[in-house]
């Protein structure tokens, strides 16, 4: 049952991803601004612009250009960057690990922060601990991520130099070291929403009849919290986490800029400004696939947590 559901969702990804690329292709070509003038600089002449457009096929009708993009795509080729004059696939592939580790690390840290605090707040519902946790989570919601990032750099990069001030580092541990503050920035942005959702659901779950029944049977507080509380509360929290990660995919550029991370977000913005169409299309495709996969994983997790979804 679950396998059929996942297969159907995976097949649905194809038209959605293609639809996204078509929309992006049309919108970026409709916005005025030519890559030829950006590439050739202020000394561009009509002849050199025509030669550039001819060389890169930019003078061909839009449907032809899109068809060529699709044709290359089915052969696993995303084309050549107009500016770097090298394969889009190689440019993107070197940046995927940076953005993915930022997303995954941020999500993991946000869970590590939110889950215990939500449990603590739910158990101490209405008391000072709960009020303090809710206060800080509200404050976290109000802080923009570029400010959080810069503050963390000043605090843990300069005042207490524990982590690098930006960059991706060298080697595995260098990457881990460099990615901690960016991931923490993401976590601080996401955790409050996750925490609040989890806290509310936990309070509901812990006040339900089945929990009262479990307690009456003599089940330990820990078992009640873990088996009955978290499992039920996690259903809504998983949705919140999934939606936020989906939004973050497009928003990584801010974190990547503040921490000078060579990720997809930075490349995307630079390519939009330069009108480097092949890169924009390539990254859009990757982003749309990642977002669809995140939502799919969210739905699968939801289905695993709540058997009623599979009925």
């Amino acid at each position: 049952m679950l396998l059929r559901y996942v297969t159907r969702r995976l097949l649905l990804m194809v038209p959605v991803a293609l639809g996204v690329t078509l929309l992006v292709f049309l919108s970026i070509h409709m916005v005025p601004g030519s890559p030829a003038y950006t590439f050739l600089g202020p000394h561009a002449t009509k002849n050199s612009v025509a030669a550039f457009n001819g060389e890169w096929g930019l003078d061909r009708p839009l449907p032809v250009q899109y068809w060529l993009f699709l044709d290359r795509l089915v052969h696993g080729n995303l084309g050549e960057s107009l500016f770097y004059q090298s394969s889009v696939t190689s440019l993107i592939s070197s940046r995927i690990p940076v953005t993915l580790s930022l997303l995954i690390g941020g999500a993991v840290l946000s869970v590590i922060i939110a889950v215990p605090l939500a449990a603590w707040a739910a158990v101490k519902s209405g008391k000072l601990t709960d009020q303090l946790i809710r206060f800080f989570s509200t404050a976290g919601l109000g802080m923009p991520s570029f400010w959080i990032g810069t503050t963390l750099i000043i605090l843990f990069g300069l005042t207490f130099p524990l982590f690098p001030v930006g960059g991706y580092g060298n080697g595995f541990w260098g990457h881990v070291d460099s990615m901690f503050l960016p991931c923490l920035t993401i976590a601080i942005s996401i955790a409050p929403m996750l925490l609040r959702s989890l806290r509310t659901s936990l309070i509901d779950a812990l006040g339900s009849d089945y929990v009262a029944f479990a307690r009456a049977k003599g089940t330990s507080a820990r078992t009640v919290l873990m088996r009955y509380g978290f499992r039920n509360a996690a259903i809504s929290a998983v949705s919140v986490l999934g939606i936020n990660i989906g939004f973050l995919v497009g928003g990584t550029v801010i974190i990547e800029t503040v921490f000078a991370l060579p990720g997809l977000g930075q490349l995307m913005i630079a390519s939009i400004l330069d009108r480097d169409f092949p890169i924009v299309q390539g990254i859009t495709l990757i982003f749309s696939v990642v977002v669809i996969l995140v939502y799919l994983l969210t739905d699968v997790a939801y289905a695993l947590l709540d058997p009623r979804v599979r009925l």
Partner: protein, 529 residues
């Protein structure tokens, strides 16, 4: 209800452990560098310079790049026949040691430096120079074709002699040969395919490419075959892309980087008094101005252009945009260039005079005009608002037309604007590039119609052409003085200010200087311990 807190505690401890202890590898980092000023007399060798820059480079091929980041990085890898002096006033030998010009001024013989080796150990010869110079204009779409457009042919009579024949007597040729795009690479890419070659290019410059992580970092290491004995002093240079102003500065302060390219103007004064950091404003060829498109009837009227030029308080713009770190302009040429005419008063802020001029025009009651500005470009938005308020007393209603950067670029390059903020820098120290770009109308070698303004003054065109054929610098200066005086009275654009190149760097860095053309010679740079 009582229950165990261990679940909460385990997770909380994990977070705190990660946050308060260094994950791995931070043991060697030192606290914030608060370097003491140490007098260094002896040059120290070694070390790798981390140079934080605003944007990434786009190509290592000097014939294909127009962005400054690529140009300035390429100049550490390739060297042309001549180089500018640090003050940008004259040229010194680089890959050529001397030259002579025939009596008819058409035939230039360049004698190459002997014993120079490329980074692969191969000897540099005239065949390499010919191949490299010819590549610049090999394709119509090459951006620097116009620089070499007066070259008729190139021959190599001997192993170390290159003869360039021009179509007309062409005085700027020596400066053209100092253009980065004419940097020497091995003939036929040293037998490699062009693609393979440009992944790991070979040049005669002080550094050679170790690794290029496109979009983030270019790592250079010293060229062990470099022809200047004992140079470069550094083991390597890492050009790192850090777009955010704050992050570039924080990395400099933490010691993670040694140079911060273009610190924010708002931070300059504070940085100038910060210990451990040197902040310098290097004189540049950068002139910022307000261009008038003469395709529109009101800008065909010289009195309108003069009125606007008189109405703008340039000092206020310098204060608002550059926080006072620039100079009011009186010409399209900056004082850093040898053709600058200090006696040219230009049209300066004088509201009474502005009102007189607009009264003399056909538009005494004013008119409505659009000013193109880049959305998100805070400097242009600020300048736009100042211009908007300052033209109001003349009855000129200015509407800001906000577009994104790429669109602004295209609209400017295709003259699809009424007024627009434009700027000039030069890539060679000879005035010819700037003059033909920003003053000559019609379709000269660059065909930009006076930098897209469609200004057309046959007297200016004729003087620029005349200067190209005059070989005495003193005689050329007189011609360019005359051009600047004409442009001041019949302005194609309102010259606003001269903008320096701002850099912050650690006090441990020595020998770093930026030329008026914006480039730097990193073979002279060294780091003290």
């Amino acid at each position: 209800m009582k229950f165990s807190r261990s679940t909460i505690v385990v997770a909380t401890v994990a977070v705190l452990t990660l946050a308060t202890t260094n994950v791995v590898g931070a043991a060697n980092r030192t606290p914030v560098a608060r370097a003491k000023m140490i007098a260094h007399t002896a040059i120290q060798r070694g070390g790798t310079l981390t140079f934080n820059r605003v944007q990434d480079i786009v190509s290592l091929d000097p014939t294909q790049v127009t962005d400054n980041e690529s140009i300035w990085a390429d100049e550490s890898i390739f060297e042309p026949l001549f180089a500018a002096t640090p003050n940008g006033k004259s040229l010194v030998p680089d890959m050529a040691t001397s030259y002579s010009v025939s009596a008819n001024k058409l035939r230039w013989t360049f004698n190459l430096r002997q014993g120079v080796k490329f980074s692969n150990g191969q000897e540099m010869t005239s065949a390499d120079a010919k191949f490299s110079i010819e590549r610049v204009g090999a394709k119509a779409s090459n951006p620097w074709t116009f620089i070499n457009s007066d070259i008729a042919s190139i021959t190599t009579p001997s192993k170390f002699q290159v003869v360039v024949t021009t179509k007309t007597p062409w005085a700027p040729l020596q400066a053209d040969m100092a253009l980065f795009a004419n940097g020497v690479i091995p003939n036929n890419f040293a037998g490699e395919s062009a693609t393979t070659f440009w992944n790991h290019p070979i040049g005669t410059g002080p550094f050679v490419v170790q690794q290029w992580l496109k979009g983030s970092e270019l790592k250079l290491v010293r060229n062990t075959h470099y022809w200047q004995a004992g140079k470069p002093y550094l083991n390597g240079v890492n050009f790192v892309t850090v777009p955010d102003d704050n992050t570039r500065l924080l990395q400099l302060e933490s010691g993670a980087a040694q140079i911060d390219e273009f610190p924010a103007w708002s931070q300059i004064s504070e940085l100038q008094s910060k210990s451990g950091i040197t902040t310098k404003l290097f004189p540049s060829s950068w002139t910022q101005f307000l261009g008038f498109n003469e395709q529109y009837a009101f800008f065909k009227d010289v009195h309108v252009r003069r009125a606007i030029s008189f109405a703008i308080d340039r000092a206020a713009i310098v204060k608002s945009v550059l926080y006072g770190h620039g100079t009011v302009a009186n010409s399209q040429v900056t004082p850093a260039l040898w053709d600058y005419n200090p006696k040219n008063p230009g049209l300066q802020y004088n509201l009474a005079q502005a009102k007189k001029e607009i009264a003399l025009s056909k538009y005494a009651k004013g008119f409505k005009v659009k000013l193109l500005v880049g959305s998100g470009n805070q400097n242009e938005l600020t300048m736009g608002q100042i211009v908007q308020s300052e033209l109001a007393p003349l009855g000129i209603t200015v509407t800001l037309q906000e577009v994104n950067g790429a669109q602004e670029n295209t609209l400017q390059s295709t003259s699809q604007f009424q007024m627009s903020f434009l700027y000039d820098t030069t890539d060679i120290i000879d005035p010819d590039e700037l003059m033909t770009f920003a003053a000559v109308g019609g379709s000269g070698a660059q065909g930009t119609h006076a930098e897209f303004t469609n200004y057309n003054n046959p007297q200016v065109d004729s003087l620029v052409t005349k200067a190209e054929g005059v070989f005495s610098q003193a005689a050329r200066i007189k011609i360019y003085d005359q051009i600047q005086l004409i442009l001041a009275q019949d302005p194609p654009m309102a010259y606003l200010f001269y903008q320096p190149f701002a850099y912050s760097f650690t006090t441990k860095l020595h020998g770093f200087s930026v030329f008026p053309t914006g480039n730097y010679h990193l073979e002279n740079v060294w780091l003290s311990k």
